[in-house]
Every structure is written in C-alpha cells, then in structure tokens.
Amino acid sequence: MDHRLVILGVNHRTAPVKVRERLAYAEDEIVPALSRLKLAAPAMLEAALISTCNRVEIVGVATDFPAAAEAALGFLAGDRGVAAESFAPAVYRFAGRDAARHLFRVGASLDSMVVGEPQIFGQLKLAYAQAVEAGAAGLILHRAFHRTFSVAKRVRRATLIGHGAVSIGSVAVALAAQIFDTLADKTILLMGAGQVAELVARQLKRRGVEALLVTNRTFDRAVAIARELGGTAVPFDNYRPYLKLAEVVIGSMSVERPLLTAENFEPIVRERHYRPMFLIDLGVPRNFDERLNSFENVYLYDIDDLGQVAHQTRSSREREAEKAEAIVNQELEAFDRWLGELGLVPAIKEIRLSIEQLRDYELSRHRAWLAGLAPGEQVRVEALTRGLVNKLLHRVLAGLRSNGQVVGDGLYTAELARRLLCGEPELDAESDEDDDDSDDSI
C-alpha cells in the first residue's frame, strides 16, 4: 500500500520530434485529457500532464506502478491515436525517489535541451495548475510540484545556470549589450546573406533594433532579405554612406580580400566622431581586417572570437549545472523524508501524542484546584480524563484503520485526521513562498 510518485514519458533525448509531436497536447486539451485519464487508468491515483516541445510526461501517484504505467501508456496511445509500439521503446519510467529526482531536474531546467532555459518553469506551473483544475492533483502531487518550484527557484538564485549566452547569435547580442546601452536607437548594416549572419540580425532585431540595412552583391537578394527581416535594402556599389550610419555591422560576404581594411575604414571612424562600433565578422575568409579592432571605440569579433566566448559560457554553465544537481539531491532527501512520514502509522502516533498532550495541558491548568482535592478524588479525576481520551482515540483510530484497509486513499484519510486533530502540518508552510513570483520566467 505504498503510495509512490511516478513518472512516465518521452523527451528530446529518447524520442525524435516526429514522435513527440504526435503525442503532444495543446494547452486547452490537457484538462479534459486528465479527466479521461482518470477513467481509463484508475490505478493512477493522481496525475498531471506535462506537454512541451521537448517532452510529454505523465506525473502521477500510484501504488501499483507497473499496472498504472501500462494503463497510462495505453491511454496515451488510444487518446492520441498512435500505435503504442511506435513510441513504447522511447518511454522512460521512474518511480519513487527517481521520479522525484526527474521532476526536480526538469523544473531546474537540467533536463532541458538548452540547459538553464527558463521557459520550463512556467510550463510546469501551467501543468500543475491544469492538474489542479482537473481535480487530478492530490496530496503528493501538491507537495511534489511545490517542492519542484522551490528547487527551481533555489537553483536560479544560487547558480548562474540561467545566465549566459550559448549560441553565436546570443553571444553577439550579449556583446552588443556590453557596448551599447540600448539597441533601439542603433542601426545595423547586414552585409551579405550568410545563414548565421541572418540569425544574428534577427536576434538583434528582436532586441529592439529599429533600423536594419541590408546590402548584397545582387540587389534583388538584398531586397528579399530586407523584406523578410523587416529592413531596408541598400545598393552594394554605394554602401559606404550607410556604413557611416551603422553602429553594428555584420559581414558575411564571400570575399578573397577583406572588404574593410584599415586604410578604407579610417575615414569612416573619423567621420563618425569615434562613436562606438561593433563589427561582427561571420565571413570565412574574413570580411574585416583584424586590425580594425585597434581603432578607437571599434570592437571587432570574428566567428572564432564569438565561438570562444560561447565556449566560455558553455563550460561555466556546466559548472553551474553541477551545483544545481547538488541542490536537487539535497531537496530530494527532504522530499523523501516527508513521503516516508506519510501514512497511517506515523499519523496514529502523532494523533495519540497530540491528544495526550491536550489532556496533560488541561490537567496542568487546573493543578491548583486538583491539589485541593482529597487524594482519592485526584485519582478519580485522573482516571476520568484518561478514560475519555482513550475512548476518543479508540474511535478515531478504529475508523482510520478500517478505512485504510478498505479504501485506496487511506493515506489521505490519515492526513485529514492528522490535520483535524493535530492542527496544520508543515505542508503549507512553504507554499506561500512558492507562489510569490509565478510569472517571472515565462
């Protein structure tokens, strides 16, 4: 009769996107799906459904995991109209401590495709809210998700896992942010149409750049790219006046000799009054002479420089991930302890203790009056209160015990009885803190 946290599902590591996309649920499909799951797989006592572009997972609570897992997988196949054999090999299953670890790691963004990406936190919040809405989340899922959220917050606070750029595009954006205050009033000149260059321009555009100029040897191509990115095409045989306007220049033309040399670039710097310029050279062979970096207030990064910065960030991210794993393990211990303390036996112990304490307290309140009684009467008062407590306890415990054996949710009854007779347990003590900034990462 052990209630265990269980997880089964597929993610970006076990299943390619063509499998994941067929299992995925749209946001508004999840609540009804959870209701259907409850009917189709009653062995799953609680359930939440996580569906993101990287994973489809059922997080649940079961006493008989193999049976619950089979039923849930059968449900998933039937519900999505996919042959179970087609994805069964990609499915991972975790129970107990392993399931909690997996959920914590997902929440801390350690299981993400880009480790540290922040979206997963909001996605988990949503999955939990949907499980609550569907009435599918119970005692253990509440606790498990709340712990997951607080683990994720601890990880974000205590590590730099969410920091740092990883792709060439984000490195370029991060560097631009160290040179320029804002990108909104800056002009970008995109020379050539390499794929990476286009990506970088797109990322800068997303960061608020308004003015994007595009030039290319074939003007039509420049026009096409400009239209796609929301910029303006300028002719290649007369790009120099536009170069003067640009704060960020991205070069990705195929050239034999550098387009910009120290000699032809110097007048431009002077005419720009030495205002800062960020040159991003993505061309191989390189478009900009490396000596341009020594011009005042000019910062030149070629593809290798950017790669090197990306690499630095990546390795620092790995170090941060190790710290995050340590946090997950700590929290796992605490969650395990809580799960172990759930259940009938500890509840009965705690209820007995609590009622005994109540009796002691009441007796001590009337100590003065008791002391004035004859010794025989004192013994009778003592016996009277003990009898009362024992009868009360007997009724509660007998009810709990039979209930625990007959119905599957004895755990919940025990928890309920404990809450009624011993006051709130520490369960909700931390949930307030968990809910404080629910939207910050989406």
């Binding site: 740092g164 160290q178 320029f180 800062p276």
Partner: protein, 275 residues
Amino acid sequence: MNPIWIAIALACYAVSSGCFFFGRGPDRSRIANWGTAMLAAGAAVNVLDLIARGLQAGNLPVATFGQSLPFLAMLVAVIGLVLIVRRGLPAIGIFVAPVAAVASAAAAILGTRGRLVLPAPLRSGWLPVHVTLAFLGYAMFLLAAGVSLLYLTYEARLKAKRPLPAASERVPSLETLDRINYHLLGWGFVMLSLAIVSGAIWADATWGRFWSWEPQESWSLVTWLLYAALLESRLTVGWRGKRAAALTIAVFTVLAGSFLGLSLMHSGHHGGNFD
C-alpha cells in the same frame, strides 16, 4: 570633539570596500548589497558627526584639512550611492568605498582637532555655500575618474576578446559608463564654476577684492580650464569613450595633486592659514 565617529565611519567604509571586492562576481549581488548598506551607514555616521561638529563651530566644520576630509568622504559616498541605486551601477562601489575609507583614515590620522572656528571676518553664510559647492565638484570629478577607470577596464576586456560573463546584468555597458562620466563631468564643472564665483564674492565681501592669485585660486582656474577643454572636446571634436575616460583620469590627477598639495602645505586661506 570625539574622533570615535571618524573611526566608526572608517570601519563602515572598510567593511563596505571588502563587500564590494568580494561581491564582484555576477552571482554575488547579495554581498555587494551589503557593501551598499555599509556605504550608506558610513555616510550616515559622517552626517551625524558633521552635525555635531557643525553645532559646535556654528558653521560648516571645515576649518582645517583634517576636518574637511569627512565632509568630502560623505559627499563621495552619497554621490556613489546615487550612482549605485539610481543609475544601477553597483560596480562603482569598488572604487567609492575605498576612497571614502582612505579619506576617513586620513582624517583619523590628521585629526579633526585644531581650530574649529574660523576668524571672525570669515564667519559668513558664504562659507557653507562656497565649500559645499567646491567639494561637490571635487566629489563628482573623483567619481567621474572612478567611472572612467571602470570604463577602461571593461573596454580593455572587450578589445581583448575576454568580455565579462555575458549575462551579468550588473555589468553596465560602455555607452552607459560614458554617459555617466559625461553627466558627472558636466555637473562637476557647474559646481566648480559656482564655487569659484561664490568664493570670489565672499573674498570681495571680506577683503574687498574678488581675486588675489593665491595658489588655490590659480590652481582652481587651471583645473577649471582643463575640465572646460575636456567637455569642449567631447561636444565638438567628439572625443568620447576611451579617450574621454583616459583624459578624465588625467585631469583629475591634476586636480587631486593640487588640492592635496596645497592643503598639506597650508598655504593661503584655503590651507587653513588665516593669520
């Protein structure tokens, strides 16, 4: 007068320096926050001390160099706090806190004793006006030099392709630093100009002449011209960024050298030589 206040302020600034030093990393903003708090505490202690001494003196307690240092430390700390809190520039703390600490230490060594009250002809409402304006100007030029140091550090890293960890939001952009530098220079220049004017008016009221070519006056004029040239070069020739930062530091060394030299040589009225 109790030197204990200077010691307490010094301790606050020293602790603040340590916090800013060890709180440099992007994941250590909590330590840096402590640095900010200690900086504020030091400034508050300075203010209390100034009020206490000011009540004794019946005026701004700046009759000697040693007495005026806590006032300067306080102004530097307060402007530093404005930059940290309002301009989001905690990185400047690593400059501001040690400077305030050194000024406090110097005050502790030189002592804030000695003549507290100025000779009768100089006791005037112009004293707080003139000294406050001058010191505000100095403090702003000092911070401009600090911001310029930060600029040169970050700039060198960017040039060397060793940028700071990309996402540390606490790293200000070069453009931001350049603009803060410009603002500090501009305001500092306004303060220095007003200080010179108010000094001249005060001198005229006391001695009957606006200008007497004593060393501090001449050097003030020199630094005023240098800062004017610095601002002019930015506005007309477009000297900004690295060059502006380097020049800001260079001009400040002239200012600091003349101020310290003249103050310690006790020459003229500004050196505390009133007789």
